[in-house]
């Protein structure tokens, strides 16, 4: 375990704050043969578009890609639940030989007739890119036939990284923009970009803006409805949270519709408040907005602060490792952990860019390990080296943390409690506390020094409990 080496090709993707001289080498394809935690282009597109709940999502390819993305994201919908079904053309050998276009057309015809969706997204998987199906042509035919937008998503798995999938998703969304009426869009209005309504987070954030007197036209894509996306171009400002996935869309909207965008984060008190204040500043023509933002922040922080302090006292000095999809989330987590007295010893992401890592280094303490596109062995090595008390990551990291005897917090698709907003900060503290302080960690080897293993001492060793009276 101690002698794990870093794969030589990956040396540029691991840094320690204090001795990094060159910028982080990132945006690289994972080295062939590494146990990468990353996914593919299709995955990137699918996770971004999935929460649009009144659209049909059809995966064109063999069954796997549809099966693995069936109802996997806790993206809540206030209306239809159509997105939680799995629709696939389930391509078979004959389709691979003769092409799958006809099958796709037929599938779409049947599905649209049955569900009458507001739009349909058709995802291309690896194989479609190789057998050469003209998905665009099928989509054009269906759009004309059904009178709804049938949008191709160019998400062939091998055509880049997950980030390229985000891009393909942005372009699919962009094709809907500008097609709805902006009549009822108010002068003080925003779009929330890059929140996916996990555990209802979009609803929390939306309420904050509404309390400030700002209209949220749509969120892309948390609890998004096609009609709202169609009129999103009427908003005066775009607020981009998941920058990795949505900066591309924000830039397109800036260029085409002149809507400026701001990068925000809703995790942690500082970042949440900054997001509200930045928005209020943007609408400086109405000073009551800033006034309301200040009142809101005071009230919300006041509500959670005493409880946060209690957690802070317990968690003071504990150390954390963070490995998440997007780097911007990592910034917020570093700050949120600091707020509850914890220090970040290891931090990494799957999709960060050079500037992100530079910025990350700025806010971290000396000696913090910063890593891009890591793998389980590396992560385990860093966790042990830094003797962390908490790991924050996703589904594949959880069992590794537990095997090492380290607490865990899911900050990915599978979180069950909202972690955004002020109430989210409190939930986060609660979740971290409940795992870090769990008595289970007292039984694990690293907290029982002297015991080589989880087992009992050897036969010769005197055990104290026998001499004491057991009550």
């Amino acid at each position: 375990m101690k002698d794990i080496e870093i794969i030589p090709e990956r040396e540029g993707q691991v840094q320690r704050k204090g001795d990094a001289s060159t910028p982080m080498a990132c945006n690289k394809k994972s080295t062939a043969g590494s146990v990468s935690q990353r996914a593919c282009v299709f995955c990137g597109s699918r996770v971004v578009l999935y929460p649009i709940s009144d659209a049909l999502h059809v995966v064109h390819g063999p069954i796997g890609c549809a099966a693995y993305t069936w109802d996997i994201r806790g993206s809540l919908s206030s209306g239809q639940q159509l997105h939680r079904n799995s629709f696939s053309t389930d391509l078979r050998e004959m389709d691979v030989i003769y092409g799958g276009e006809k099958k796709l057309l037929l599938a779409l015809r049947q599905l649209i007739a049955r569900y009458k969706p507001k739009a349909a997204f058709i995802y291309s998987t690896c194989i479609v890119g190789v057998i050469g199906d003209d998905v665009e042509a099928v989509c054009r035919t269906m759009t004309a036939e059904a009178g709804i937008p049938v949008i191709p998503v160019h998400s062939e798995g091998f055509k880049g990284t997950k980030k390229d999938g985000y891009r393909a998703a942005c372009e699919a969304v962009a094709s809907l923009l500008g097609t709805g009426s902006t009549e009822d869009v108010k002068p003080h209005s925003v779009n929330i970009l890059g929140d996916f309504n996990l555990a209802g987070e979009t609803w929390i954030i939306k309420k904050y803006y509404e309390r400030m007197g700002i209209q949220v036209v749509t969120c892309i894509t948390g609890d998004a409805k096609i009609e709202d996306i169609r009129r999103a171009h009427g908003a005066k400002l775009n607020l981009v949270q998941c920058s990795g996935s949505m900066t591309h869309l924000a830039k397109m909207m800036e260029e085409k519709y002149g809507i400026p965008f701001k990068r925000v984060s809703y995790f942690g008190i500082e970042d949440m408040s900054a997001a509200l204040y930045d928005t209020a500043k943007f609408f400086s023509d109405d000073p009551t907005i800033m006034q309301r933002a200040q009142d809101l922040v005071r009230e919300e922080v006041g509500n959670i602060y005493p409880q946060l302090q209690a957690y802070r006292e317990e968690l003071q000095g504990k150390k954390a490792a963070i490995y998440v999809g997007g780097s911007f989330k990592a910034f917020s987590l570093v700050r949120a952990l600091r707020l509850i007295g914890m220090q970040t010893a290891v931090v990494g992401s799957q999709t960060g860019g050079p500037d992100d890592y530079k910025q990350l280094a700025e806010i971290c303490d000396e000696g913090t390990i910063i890593v891009d596109d890591s793998n389980p062995l590396e992560l385990a090595k860093f966790v042990l080296e830094k003797d962390v008390d908490l790991f924050i990551g996703g589904v594949k990291e959880r069992p590794i943390a537990y095997k090492l005897g380290v607490a865990f917090c899911d900050h990915n698709h599978e979180r069950k409690e909202p972690l955004a907003g002020y109430v989210g900060m409190l939930n986060f503290a609660k979740e971290v506390y409940s795992s870090v302080m769990s008595p289970v960690w007292n039984f694990v080897p690293r907290r029982q020094p002297g015991r080589a293993h989880t087992g009992m001492p050897s036969a010769q060793e005197k055990s104290v409990s026998l001499e004491e009276k057991i009550p």
Partner: protein, 457 residues
């Protein structure tokens, strides 16, 4: 709102909704994890590998290791030779497994990568260290299902490794099928009581059910060793459990090394376990020990105690074909009525076999291979059942139709403990009865009118 369908079925020729299967590579990956010191390798885009690992992790709650060729647009055009060669070199230099088990994906299959040639080239170029094993299987995602992929990997492992030296050993091969590690442990326990030396392939116990010992090990202690797989060619017989997941591998071994093979179903339920024990008895020429008789008697005792609660209960069963076949037999043993029997995996054998099992049961069931859960839901809407038995994907139907779901098979994504309790053997049968009877009585207790609510059942 999750109610995704109406009762009327319509012809669907081109469309899969809510599948009861997934693709071949994940089965191959799972089978490869049952080889000791093995790194499964996914020859395709990196998403495949990531999805399979996540999915297996959700079911087993364990770290799942596998590597990927990380295909790019270049590889899609020029083939995956360079990626696979680099991958092999990296895997051995960094992770140092005993075995690399490569499976293909739809992408590499369509491109037409010739894996044996690539492996040979890598060996010739010295990129595979001396003494290390590299095997492969073809798992086109557009053929069969994850069960096919599992079967292909087990068959290929035997093809690559099993040898006949001519000296028959006292060991019995068991190809247990697409089971959880707890099931494998239970089969090993039974074989231990029977006093039969055995080799199980694959054996994921000790790989995907390890304890918390404060270490993270890439290659845990469990898994069938290469040495044991080699010597399977010298065993006196093979018992293969499951037509879809295991029989091909036993046939391969029979043809390759002349090891006589017994083709059974999964040892799930009373009859299934009886057949397994009986086959072992026959091949190993042993008498059944008292301890096994007692286990069996306890199961029958439980069946007699509780038979009135299960009599005539109608059931929808969905899942992998070998599991569904064995479960259908058990339900017949329990005097229950399988009403809808579905597998997503293609294969006419399934419908024939279920019909045979149900022939004298008085059960008039709708049976479908290559079906999906959407259609199952439509049937249930037309005529409901008392219980649904299947993996977590049935929970949407169970909730909408207010029918208890007995979680069974792969994957269980929403409960934590199923993977730890075997469903095979007499022990597993007791657990299944426990779950079924409790589900029926809990529902009654929750929903019946007060005057029918009873303390004593």
């Amino acid at each position: 709102m999750l109610d995704g369908t109406k009762a009327e079925t319509t012809e669907r020729t081109a469309l899969r909704i809510n599948p009861a299967k997934t693709c071949q590579p994940i089965g191959a990956m799972y089978a490869a994890l049952g080889i000791h010191g093995c790194m499964p390798h996914s020859h395709g885009s990196q998403g495949c590998c990531s999805y399979h690992r996540s999915h297996l992790t959700r079911h087993y709650k364990e770290p799942v290791m596998a590597t990927t060729s990380s295909f790019t647009e270049g590889s899609a055009v020029f083939g995956g030779l360079a990626n696979l060669t680099t991958a092999l070199q990296n895997i051995f230099s960094i992770y140092n497994p005993d075995v690399v088990a490569i499976h293909t994906t739809c992408l590499s299959e369509v491109i037409g990568d010739d894996i044996p040639t690539i492996i040979k080239k890598a060996r010739d170029e010295g990129k595979v260290p001396e003494g290390k094993v590299v095997i492969h299987t073809n798992t086109p995602s557009f053929v069969g299902s994850h069960v096919t992929g599992f079967s292909n990997m087990v068959t290929s492992t035997i093809k690559y490794l099993a040898e006949k030296t001519g000296k028959t050993t006292d060991r019995l091969n068991v190809i247990p099928g697409y089971l959880d590690p707890s099931d494998i442990l239970e089969i090993k326990r039974l074989l231990g009581i029977l006093g039969v030396n055995s080799i199980l392939l694959p054996d994921t116990s000790g790989v995907l059910d390890t304890g918390l010992d404060g270490n993270y090990t890439m290659f845990p202690k469990g898994g069938t060793t290469v040495e044991d797989i080699k010597s399977m060619g010298d065993s006196f017989a093979t018992i293969a459990c499951g037509h879809f997941a295991s029989h091909a591998a036993a046939t391969q071994l029979e043809n390759q090394c002349n090891v006589p093979a017994g083709f059974l179903e999964l040892p799930i339920g009373l009859t299934g376990t009886d057949r397994f024990i009986n086959a072992v008895r026959q091949y190993a020429t042993i008498d059944i020990p008292e301890a096994i008789e007692e286990e069996r008697a306890r199961l029958i005792d439980l069946m007699s105690d509780l038979h009135q609660y299960l009599h005539g209960k109608t059931v929808a069963i969905a899942g992998d074909p070998d599991h569904v076949i064995a479960m259908t037999q058990f339900l017949v043993d329990l005097d229950m009525k399988p009403k809808y029997v579905v597998t997503g995996t293609p294969g006419q054998f399934f419908e024939r076999r279920i019909a045979e099992i149900l022939k004298d049961s008085g059960s008039n069931a709708t049976v479908k291979q290559f079906g999906d859960l959407f259609e199952l839901h439509q049937w249930i809407k037309q005529e409901p059942v008392d219980l649904i038995i299947g993996n977590s994907y049935n929970k949407h139907i169970a909730r909408v139709e207010n029918i208890p779901l007995i979680r069974f098979g792969f994957p269980i994504l929403d409960r934590g403990t199923h993977r730890l309790f075997p469903t095979v053997g007499y022990t597993g049968a007791k657990r299944l009865i426990d779950e079924m009877v409790n589900a029926v009585l809990d529902k009654k207790d929750r929903e019946c009118d007060e005057q029918w609510f009873e303390l004593i059942q």
